[in-house]
């Protein structure tokens, strides 16, 4: 016994016709407002407020064209003194959570021991540490000075790869590279799955415990779009960090000079990520 007014077949057919009609209206109608109203009666914001361009956001890029720039950073390892000012500046500028383990940039100390007596090795064990990311400076190493073959600091940050594993692994397209060569995260799209954190071979990402979204170095995107240097570059007392715009002959000059004067390399080149972050003076132990 059929107690329904229309049967299932009629219902599906009718639904299909309605949806098809709506799609046709939305897709081919020249006025999107009418299409939206046709689909969403009642308060419009319930469906169309997904990402309204806020007034502040609209004004913040007054004369900035992302396609007219190409930002690159280079680090001279031989100049880094491990003062930790860059780490401090990054935390303040980007309001990074002030606890260990959450760093957008940090400094590692590599201490290479002398080879054991009688050994045919060139060098001994390598000890790497980064107490609080180097933010409070470095206390004397656990290796006594008499046993140190050599030691040096290596500042680390996002490598802004051209072929980023993090972008490829993001299931929702929340991380992307911009036309000006910066790898960024859209916190409104990020679902906090952590795939990108596992994918990054340089350990440059972390999950913000408050927002539950992935976070990383943005090259201080809010600063560079205003013509300022990233905070870490600004405060580095020894100019160990170089920053420039490859599409601007004047701003690229320090970088070009750096590259011509040093033998530069990237981290983990065998992975094919093509990092944009260049290093000069790296030891083979640095990963």
């Amino acid at each position: 016994m059929n107690t329904h007014l229309i049967n299932r077949r009629q219902a599906i057919g009718g639904l299909g016709k309605v949806l098809g009609g709506m799609a046709a209206i939305i897709h081919f109608h020249p006025c999107p407002a009418i299409a939206e109203n046709a689909l969403a009666p009642g308060p419009k914001k319930s469906v169309s407020s997904n990402t309204p361009p806020s007034p502040a956001a609209a004004q913040s890029l007054p004369n900035y064209d992302p396609t007219a720039h190409d930002w690159t950073m280079a680090i001279d390892v031989e100049k880094c003194i491990g003062c930790g000012l860059c780490v401090e500046a990054c935390k303040q500028e980007n309001k990074v959570i002030r606890q260990p383990f959450y760093f957008r940039t940090w400094i590692e100390r590599y201490v290479i021991r002398k080879p054991e007596a009688g050994s045919s090795e060139m060098r001994g064990e390598t000890v790497v540490d980064s107490p609080n990311g180097g933010m409070d400076g470095f206390p004397p190493s656990a290796v006594p000075p008499s046993e140190i073959l050599k030691a040096f600091f290596v500042p680390k940050l996002c490598n802004h790869c051209k072929d980023s594993p993090c972008i490829q692994s993001c299931p929702v397209g929340a991380t992307f590279d911009t036309p000006d060569g910066v790898v960024l995260v859209d916190p409104k799209y990020c679902i906090g799955c952590g795939f990108c954190i596992q994918a990054c071979p340089y350990g440059c990402r972390f999950l913000n415990p408050v927002t539950r979204t992935a976070e990383k170095c943005t090259l201080c995107y809010h600063r560079i779009t205003r013509g300022l240097n990233p905070a870490c570059v600004e405060v580095c007392p020894t100019s160990a960090r170089f920053f420039g715009d490859l599409k601007d002959p004047v701003k690229a000059e320090p970088l070009r000079r750096f590259v011509s004067e040093h033998k530069v390399q990237v981290l983990k080149p065998h992975l094919g990520t093509h990092p944009k972050l260049l290093y000069a003076g790296l030891d083979k132990e640095v990963r």
Binding site: G16, I81, N94, V111, G137, F138, Y189, L228, V235
Partner: protein, 149 residues
């Protein structure tokens, strides 16, 4: 047309139509502006406030000091390296920057450490000056000059 084909056509149209309808409603307006992401996310990231004003902003008022420093051994140091983030001070000079406390601060860079580059001037606090203040002998803005008395 036979009814079963009709139904298939209607169903296909319904699915495709539902896709386009959902896409039109759910896709942000700025999506695809620069690539496969929201163009607005770039604008949102640029809307953050600047905490470090930058040396150029300091030079607007403290030009003389910035000029003096550019001649000194400390020329590569930005004002905010030592004085801290002063974006607020640059916006409204009434907000005074906080004081720096030598020698702890000087030693942040100049404490002897085997991992520091050999050419970089480093001291062992006890050997070098004992309990005196760094500024008794060195001027932070031009470290090689004699101190002001």
């Amino acid at each position: 047309m036979p009814p079963q084909i009709n139904r298939l056509v209607v169903l296909t149209l319904a699915i495709v139509g539902a896709y386009f309808a959902a896409r039109a409603v759910l896709r942000p307006k700025s999506f695809g502006e620069y690539g496969w992401y929201r163009g607005d996310s770039l604008r949102e990231l640029t809307a953050l406030t600047v905490t470090y004003a930058g040396k150029a902003a300091c030079a607007d008022c403290h030009g003389e000091l910035v000029e003096k420093m550019s001649q000194s051994k400390h020329r590569s140091i930005a004002c905010e390296s030592c004085h801290g983030a002063n974006g607020e001070h640059a916006e409204s000079p009434a907000i005074t920057p906080k004081k720096i406390t030598p020698p702890q601060f000087c030693l942040r860079c100049h404490q002897a450490n085997p991992a520091r580059p050999e050419k970089f001037p480093q001291v062992d606090k006890a050997e070098h000056f004992g309990e005196d203040k760094c500024t008794d002998c060195h001027q932070p803005h031009s470290p090689t000059d004699a101190p002001k008395k």
